[in-house]
């Protein structure tokens, strides 16, 4: 798998604000970081769907170039929380957000945030793979074209790099112009990961990316994520606790809109601090 990252265009457009002077500080390989290596953070984050108080003061930091898993029973707010980081919740009517959501040191709810840039930097992959009804090549090149990348050579380079990183290149290199809809479910999901990577994000948000896949495809996605974390900060919402145990460095347990416990994954799955976490991960409720 090609784990090099095209840095040619890095250094430009680093910030998510319209004012370039607000660009976030960058780490040694130009990955923007806060001082302690936290890539994503929320402070006192409350989110309301109309009258429903869905997130109740979440304080959480997620380290750069690690996999953080968000676990918890259905309706606990973990997907809602995930969607705060690229402001996907904005699209839902009646949503109100209080507190801070910080991506690489920058508050994403500041009024002058360029949402297109934010979503380029914070890529997202959903539970159900959603390839565009286009060719494999066009699926990957769509994002870069939208943000102004031109030239066949440049586009081909992005297509190959992204597909390699998503561990799909060898399987599709001879049929890049075939419809993406002809791919298997697992391949479609890896295509969606490649499509997110084509935008050269720093962060990947994954909302149950393997829940509709067979065990072999799931294992491939997990292997891909373990490779990708060398370059990207990954946050994954999963109902598959063993998946969290297998791939995540850090796990946060959500319940009723609150973070009950967050710890390194090994501790979380061998000796959680809270009784309620133990009950959830041992399958006694949820």
């Amino acid at each position: 798998m090609d784990m090099t990252r095209n840095n040619a265009s890095k250094g430009k457009e680093r910030g998510i604000f319209q004012n370039p002077f607000d660009a976030a500080p960058t780490g040694p390989d130009e990955t923007p970081l806060t001082a302690d290596g936290t890539a994503l953070e929320s402070r006192g984050l409350h989110l309301y769907y109309g009258e429903t108080h869905a997130l109740k003061g979440i304080d959480l930091g997620m380290p750069a170039r690690r996999i953080t898993a968000l676990i918890g029973p259905s309706g606990c707010g973990k997907s809602t929380y995930l969607r705060c980081f690229n402001r996907m919740n904005d699209m839902i009517e009646g949503v109100r957000v209080e507190g801070k959501v910080i991506v690489e040191g920058a508050d994403v709810y500041r009024p002058d945030v360029d949402l297109e840039l934010l979503r380029k930097r914070v890529g997202m992959v959903f539970q159900k793979s959603n390839p565009f009804p286009m060719s494999i090549r066009e699926n990957i090149s769509f994002g870069p074209r939208m943000t102004g990348v031109r030239g066949r050579g440049k586009i081909d380079e992005i297509v190959e790099r992204s597909l390699r990183q998503a561990d799909l290149w060898e399987e599709v290199r001879d049929r890049l112009d075939h419809s993406a809809l002809d791919l298997s479910g697992g391949q479609q999901q890896r295509l969606c990961i490649a499509r997110a990577l084509a935008n050269e994000p720093d962060i990947l948000l994954l909302d149950e990316p393997a829940s509709a896949l067979d065990p072999i495809s799931t294992a491939k996605i997990e292997e891909t994520l373990l490779q990708l974390k060398k370059l990207y900060t990954i946050i994954i919402v999963t109902h598959n606790l063993q998946q969290a145990a297998r791939i995540a460095d850090l796990t946060a347990f959500f319940m009723l809109g609150e973070v009950v416990e967050v710890d390194d994954t090994t501790t979380m799955f061998t000796n959680p601090s809270e009784a309620i976490t133990e009950e959830y991960i041992t399958g006694r409720f949820g």
Binding site: A245, F269, T270, T282
Partner: protein, 222 residues
């Protein structure tokens, strides 16, 4: 309705407890055989070893299938890991009961070198440690488990005392050597049983506190 998960956990626990019951019976009978040089009782200890061995195999089977089926986490995970470790410890305690029984069979062929007083006492202490370690496991009581671990020193001290005494006898009378060796071996087996009770207790502390405490004091002991 009890969940299948709980039913299977309970089955592992019950198998460990019935194995522990058999092991304690073996220890009782070995001590009885030693006190009276009762050959029949000694032979019954040897005969029941097969059943105890099968318990160990059964615990391994149950625990392996449980992990494969349920991928346990947290306390459940530690419970199953500890079950897999307790099987061999209990099995080795039974082996040491057999070893003692075999020495008793040998000792019964010759006149006793000296009255056996310290040895049944040592064996009694070791046996009590095994009982208390198993009770601590059932109650998930780390305090009781640590108390068992502390008692190991007492058995070690008794072993040294018996060893020195018998060494003295052997030096005085070369004809006593083979009979003294039987007694030293019995003391050694009793001392090992106490060590195995200690191992069980350490696993109980791990089960309750998720902290491995094995080998932590080794450097100081050296």
């Amino acid at each position: 309705m009890q969940r299948q998960f709980e039913v299977e956990l309970e089955e592992i626990k019950v198998t460990i407890l019935s194995m522990a019951g058999l092991v304690e019976k073996a220890l009782d009978d070995a001590a009885g055989a030693l006190g009276t040089l009762d050959k029949e009782l000694a032979e019954s200890v040897i005969a029941m070893d097969e059943e105890i061995d099968q318990c160990e195999v059964e615990i391994d089977r149950l625990a392996t299938e449980f992990i494969a089926r349920h991928q346990p986490t947290a306390t459940d995970l530690r419970f199953v890991i500890v079950a897999i470790k307790l099987g061999p410890e209990l099995e080795r305690i039974a082996d040491n009961a057999v070893n003692i029984a075999e020495r008793v069979l040998n000792m019964s062929k010759y006149p006793l070198l000296k009255p056996v007083i310290d040895l049944p006492r040592m064996l009694g202490l070791a046996h009590a440690m095994v009982s208390d370690a198993v009770a601590a496991y059932v109650a998930r009581d780390a305090v009781a488990a640590r108390e068992v671990i502390r008692r190991d020193d007492e058995v070690d001290a008794l072993y040294l005392q018996v060893f020195r005494e018998l060494l003295g006898l052997m030096c005085e009378d070369p004809n006593a050597v083979s009979r003294a060796i039987d007694l030293i071996l019995v003391a050694r087996f009793a001392e090992r049983i106490a060590d195995q009770a200690t191992n069980i207790s350490e696993e109980v502390v791990y089960l309750v506190e998720a902290k491995p405490i094995r080998h932590v004091n080794l450097p100081e002991e050296e």
